[in-house]
Symmetry: C2
Subunit: 285 residues, 2 copies
C-alpha cells in the first residue's frame, strides 16, 4: 500500500527530472481514469472542467464542499498521484486558504494549484497576501506530514499593468517571490511563445509549469527550453465538447452517426473506468 506521503514524494520527483512531464487535467472519474490508463504518471484536476461539468461557471461560485467532493471522486479511483486546483483558495485570508488545502489533502490529493487571480477573474490579488498563503500552505504540509507539491500560478501575464514586457517582468517577479515563499513549481498562465518561455525559465531558476494552448511548442522543444511540467488546463474539456458539437452538427444536418461511432470506446471499457485499477492509497502520511 502506497501512502499519501509517498505519493506526494513520487509527484515531487517528477518536477526534479531532467525531462518535462505532461500532466493531463481531468474533470470527472472517467476522464481521469482514461489518462491514467494512457500511462501519465500523475493526473491534475481542471477547476473550470469540474465546475462547468457540475453547472457552475469558472471561479468560486461552486460551493467548496461540492467542488472537493468531485476531487475526491477522482482521487479515490486513481492509483497515480492527483494534484488539485484550488483556484485562489476559496477564501480571502491565509487561514481560509489553509483550510481549503487541508480539505483537499483529506481527499487524498498530494498537490495543489493556487492562483493569484481574483475569483471574479478581473485582476491580481496583492502579492503580500499571496505570499502569506503560500507560506501557510507550506507549513500545513509540514505539520500534516504530507509533503504536498505547491504549484503557484500567476496571472500577471494577462492582468499586470503595462506593456507585454512589463507584464512578463511582473510575472517573473511574482514567480520568484512565490518560489522563495515555498512554492515547488511556478505556473505563469498564458506563457506560450518559445522566446518568452526561455526568458521566464532562465529568470526564475525553479520548476516551471506551462499550459497547453494552440501554439505551444511540442514536448521536445519544451525540454530544450527547460520547462518541467506541461499541464492541459481545461484543454481536454474544450476538445471533448468540440467533438460533441461536431457530433450534434453531423446528426442534425446529415442524419448520420459517423463521429458518434468511430473511434469510440465500448460499453465494457466505459464501465471499467468507473472503478479503480488498483486499491487506492492509504490515507494520511
Amino acid at each position: 500500500m502506497v501512502t499519501q506521503a509517498e505519493k506526494a514524494e513520487t509527484f515531487r520527483a517528477l518536477h526534479e527530472a531532467s525531462v518535462p512531464f505532461a500532466l493531463p487535467n481531468a474533470w470527472d472519474v472517467p476522464s481521469a481514469r482514461v489518462f491514467e490508463d494512457a500511462g501519465f504518471p500523475a493526473v491534475a484536476t481542471s477547476s473550470a472542467g469540474i465546475m462547468v461539468s457540475l453547472g457552475f461557471p469558472d471561479g468560486e461560485a461552486i460551493p467548496r464542499k461540492e467542488y472537493l467532493a468531485a476531487v475526491r471522486r477522482i482521487v479515490e479511483r486513481l492509483s497515480v498521484p492527483v494534484t488539485a486546483d484550488v483556484v485562489s483558495g476559496f477564501g480571502r485570508g491565509a487561514r481560509a486558504v489553509v483550510r481549503t488545502v487541508e480539505l483537499a489533502l483529506e481527499t487524498g490529493a498530494v498537490g495543489i494549484n493556487l492562483e493569484d487571480l481574483t475569483p471574479s477573474g478581473d485582476g491580481l490579488l496583492p502579492l503580500r497576501g499571496q505570499l502569506g498563503k503560500i507560506r501557510a500552505v507550506r507549513e500545513l504540509g509540514r505539520t500534516a506530514g504530507i509533503p504536498l507539491v505547491v504549484n503557484a500560478r500567476t496571472d500577471a501575464l494577462r492582468h499586470a499593468p503595462g506593456e507585454p514586457g512589463a507584464k512578463l517582468k511582473e510575472a517573473i517577479r511574482r514567480a520568484k517571490a512565490y518560489r522563495e515563499a515555498g512554492a515547488d513549481c511556478v505556473y505563469p498562465m498564458g506563457l506560450v511563445a518559445a522566446e518568452e518561455i526561455a526568458t521566464f525559465v532562465d529568470a526564475v531558476r525553479c520548476p516551471v509549469n506551462v499550459m497547453v494552448r494552440r501554439g505551444l511548442p511540442p514536448m521536445s522543444e519544451l525540454e530544450r527550453l527547460g520547462v518541467r511540467r506541461v499541464s492541459f488546463g481545461p484543454g481536454a474539456s474544450y476538445a471533448a465538447l468540440g467533438l460533441l458539437r461536431r457530433i450534434g452538427e453531423e446528426v442534425r444536418t446529415q442524419g448520420t452517426f459517423q463521429l458518434l461511432t468511430e473511434g469510440a470506446i465500448s460499453f465494457d471499457e466505459l464501465n471499467a473506468l468507473a472503478v479503480a485499477r488498483r486499491p487506492p492509497a492509504a490515507p494520511g502520511p
Copy 2:
C-alpha cells in the same frame, strides 16, 4: 414561462410526428448544453454516462439521490424538455419505482426510460411485475398532472431464451404488452439491422425508439422504416472518451498536442455551457 406539463406535451408530440427525431443522451451539464445549442428539440440522460462520470459502474450501485441530483443539474440548466433514464426504477416493486419516477419528475424531467433488465444486468425482470410498474407510473402522471412520456425498454433481444428469432418474438411480445399497459414508446435494446427494425415496427404499431450503434441505418432510412425516436444511449460518452484516449496516446508517444487543440471550443464557450440559455421552466403542472 413554459410549464413542466407543457414541456411534457411538447416532448410527447415529437413521438407523433411523421419523421423520427434524434435524441442525444448527456451525462453532465456541458454535454447537455452543447446538444441543446446544436438544435436538438429534447435531451435525454444517459444512465451509464452519469453513473460512470460519478465513479459508479452501470446498474443501480449509485445512490438514487446522487443519481437524481445529476439529472436535476442538467434539467435546471436546459430549456428544452429532458427525459431521464431511471434504469429499472431503483427498487423492486411498483411502489418503489413510482417513488423514483416521482422524484425524477421533481427534478423537472418530463419523461422516463424504464427497463426490464435486472440491475445486475444478467437477465430479464418478470413481465407481470414490469406491467404493474408501467401502469403505476402512468397513473402517477395522471395524479401529478404531468403527462410524462414513458419509454419502456426491453432487453429481450439480448436476454430472452432461445435463438435470435425467439428473442425478437419475445421483444415484440413484451413491447406490445408495455404499450397496452400505458407506455408511450417502446425501446428494444440492441435493434440495429434494418430488416429486424422493420419487423419490429410493423408488429408493435406504436412509437419505437432505437439506439445509435455502429451499423444503425442513417436517419433517412430509419424514417422509411417507421422509427420515431433515435437515441444516442451512452454513445457520446464512448466517443468523447475515445477522443481523450487518442489525445493521451498522442501526447505520450509523440509529445504533440494536435488532437488536444484542434476542433476545441474556447474558454468562454465552455464557461457559457455552465448556465441556462433561458430561464428554466416553472415547476409543477
